[in-house]
Each structure stands twice: as C-alpha cells, then as structure tokens.
C-alpha cells in the first residue's frame, strides 16, 4: 500500500504480507494524455480482525477479487499538478 507524503511528493511504501481479506476497494479511472490512469484505495483485514489500508501500489490476489466497474458517459481528464507532483482530475478539461 502507499501513503502520500505531501512533503516528499511521493508515496511511502507500506508492505503488507500474508493472506488478508479484501474488505473494501474504491477507485476511479480517468484519462491522462489519452491513457487510462487507475486510482484505487483499499482496506484489508488481518487474521485478528484489525485493518490496514492505503493507496494501492500493487495487490496480489489469492484466491479471488470481485470488482464491478461502471463506465460513466463522459471520461474525466487528468492534468499534472505541480504542487503535488501527481496527475489530478480537472473537470474543466475536455
């Protein structure tokens, strides 16, 4: 998982190993320079019932992850935000 460090303008890596329940995953897909960019957050459950969570950098499935995707009638566009050094959705872009 990742945690966005606003000072370093990078994601700090949070390694989470071992079997976990995928409790909640939300996200969106927007376009940057014509290519889709996936932005996803996830909460996972440990064997003792506590949770860990963050921005998904990489998540390996075991045994299954069920995802529903709804396509919006208008695609959102991203632009590079120099303050955060991230691509952020700009609703004014077409």
């Amino acid at each position: 998982m990742g945690w966005f460090d606003p000072q370093r303008k990078m994601y700090k890596k949070i390694p989470i190993n071992g079997q976990h329940e995928g409790i909640g995953m939300s996200g969106d897909i927007a376009l940057y320079q014509g290519k889709p960019v996936v932005h996803t957050h996830m909460v996972v459950g440990s064997p003792d019932g506590t949770t860990r969570a963050g921005h998904i950098l990489a998540a390996y499935v075991s045994p299954a992850l069920e995802v529903m995707v709804t396509v919006d009638p208008i695609a959102m566009q991203k632009r590079l935000d120099p303050a955060a050094d991230l691509t952020l959705i700009d609703p004014a872009l077409k």
Partner: protein
C-alpha cells in the same frame, strides 16, 4: 471545489475538491446550490486533517472519535444527502489510512483535502426526507 455534470438521468456529478477545501461543508453548499433533494455519493482522495465522530447512544450526540491532524489517505467516503426541514443534510462515513497503514473510521465531521478528493454523486429518483427519530434524537431517512 469544481464539478461537472456527467449524466442527466439520473442526475450525476463529478466533484473535485482541491487542497484546503473542506468536504462536509462543501457538499452541503453544493446540495443547496443544486437544489438536490436526495442523493448518494462516494469518494476517494487524501486529507491533511480529519475529524471523525462516533454516535454516543447515551448522550445522543457525536463524540469526537478520532481527530487526525496529519496527512491521511481518504480510503472511502460513503454517504447520502436528504432533506431535513427543507435543508439538505449530508450524512457520510469515512475510512482513512495513516502513514503506517493503519485505518481509522467514523462519521464525517470535518475533512480538509490535500491534494485532491474525487467524488461522484448521483441524485436519487425520489426525494429522501429525514424525520426526527425520537429514540436516537437524530433525523433519519423515512421511506
């Protein structure tokens, strides 16, 4: 906060909050401005400050469950908007992630954005009305 309507039926908006925007008051203001009667929304993003509440059944008030004056991932924000005495009322629940990967959750009291919050809001087909529930002392949706 900037927004774009992306669908007419049902009325659907994308709301993009920016650094230093506050989500709860921003949503309330948006709902009033658009004359929304009942809606549901969800969002992800990141925050520089979050105040989460926990409903205390004894006092019938929200206790401050967790005040985080630090950068957190906004892992999920789920909520609805209904009318109470003609005024839109925002009800939302939040899960946030700290830098060590631990998660905290509660009722949204205050959430200050940094650097973005991407929210999608859909208006409900019929107006959701809230009515004061004497048992809990809070306004709950009546259907």
């Amino acid at each position: 906060m900037r927004y774009k309507q992306i669908e007419d039926e049902p009325k659907t908006f994308v709301l993009i909050f920016e650094t230093s925007d506050e989500i709860a008051s921003g949503l309330q203001q948006f709902a009033r401005g658009q004359g929304l009667g009942g809606s549901s929304f969800e969002a992800i993003g990141a925050l520089s400050h979050a105040k989460l509440g926990w409903f205390n059944w004894e006092t019938k008030k929200y206790d401050p469950a967790c005040v985080l004056d630090e950068q957190v991932e906004l892992l999920s924000l789920i909520g609805d908007i209904a009318l109470r005495d003609g005024e839109p009322q925002v009800h939302a629940h939040v899960v946030v992630g700290r830098s060590d990967g631990t998660a905290h959750g509660g009722h949204l009291v205050e959430a200050r954005v940094r650097p973005t919050c991407e929210l999608i809001l859909t208006e409900s087909p019929s107006h959701l009305q809230k009515k004061l529930d004497p048992k809990s002392g809070i306004a709950l949706i009546q259907i």
